[in-house]
Subunit: 254 residues, 2 copies
Amino acid sequence: MTDHPTIQIIAIPGIPLIRAGDDLAAMLLDRLIAADLRLQDGDVLVVTSKIVSKAEGRAVWLHDVVPSPQATELATVCQKDPRLIEVILRESKRVLRTRPGLIIVEDRRGFVCANAGVDHSNVAGEDWVLCLPEDPDRSALMLRRQLEAVTGARIGVIIADSHGRAFRMGTVGVAVGVAGVAGLLDLRGRPDLFGYRLQVTQVGLADEIAAAASLLMGQADEARPAVLVRGMPYPLREGNAQELVRPRELDLFR
Amino acid sequence: MTDHPTIQIIAIPGIPLIRAGDDLAAMLLDRLIAADLRLQDGDVLVVTSKIVSKAEGRAVWLHDVVPSPQATELATVCQKDPRLIEVILRESKRVLRTRPGLIIVEDRRGFVCANAGVDHSNVAGEDWVLCLPEDPDRSALMLRRQLEAVTGARIGVIIADSHGRAFRMGTVGVAVGVAGVAGLLDLRGRPDLFGYRLQVTQVGLADEIAAAASLLMGQADEARPAVLVRGMPYPLREGNAQELVRPRELDLFR
């Protein structure tokens, strides 16, 4: 079976609960060695935004949050905790849609998503919420540099979150931070099998990798917050998650 | 490495160009045997919508198409061939957005996508276009039944296409037809590690599998139109792609 082009998605086992200040790179290296998994050139390491956020101390204790009048008003519409809404607003550029139980924003990083990516689960207790990493592309780059420095392998790193979609049900894994691998893969102008030039040809590569990794990560199972994607058929290049953010002028649905 | 939870995405090599009337199941079985790949319980076979459409004779010769006045008018706005627009309109319930070079519709199957999934590449010549399978869920079910009858394995089948996203750049693989595997995976109410009940908990499972398969399929490389996904950590259940269509009343962005 190894004769056929094959991608492997491998869960890195045994990653402990992450706390603020933890050295994520060191912990991942430790677990990779324990699992006899050696990083190879071309590997893409996918980690959940949650463990990166936790290591970076991005948890917020709701008792410390004083909601603004705007947050209080919005909380009534959304039927959510005003302190949670306050945190969401601090993480957002603008609010796009609100409904009971739902708030969709453009977050500070440009991502259109529910709750600005602020997470109310898998933080130790209901009075804590977890924000996205401050600058997920930078977090991915730092993690990559640390892992490459130790292993000597040339790798990609993707920080993954789960987002809903405007026109489809269900969340899917998406890339919120990227380093060492293309966010967008540009196939513009490459001829197809019949020599006809393709028109729609930018692939959301890092999002597809994040979705693939998400198949193993699950949603409620934080025992698998890191996944190795091995055997990518594309050569790695520098890239970032901002490539995946649709500019407002190309947005037809806002 | 086989000790860790691992998903394999395996390209089925050597699939020939597909023509109308071809027995896709027989061809896939032939290639699986030639590659010494035996279907196993829990495998998910992902095939491009293109090869299913071709086998089902869904190519349209543009010289046979007489554009309606509406199509001609829309073609001016979209700067596209009026005959192509006519085919797109026949495949659509309604037009949602138009711009020069772009037409986004709700297609007959409920998918919000560009061009109603009508493809102008990888069909033999510029005067041919290819529509989505008439009923991709049914196509997936038929393919699954044929493959299961011969192999005795209990498998899932996903028919994948590439769609753009409202708020993110780049296309990603999505499921347009599904059989034998969940479209949506429902984690509602499952407690997380701290016992806190998850709120956002429906995962677009078939879309994530399609995205994973798309990493190997590529866009311009029709030599890899079928991919085996092996090692899914979820038990297979009956499902379909209609689970992934967001109902209009839950759509905030149309």
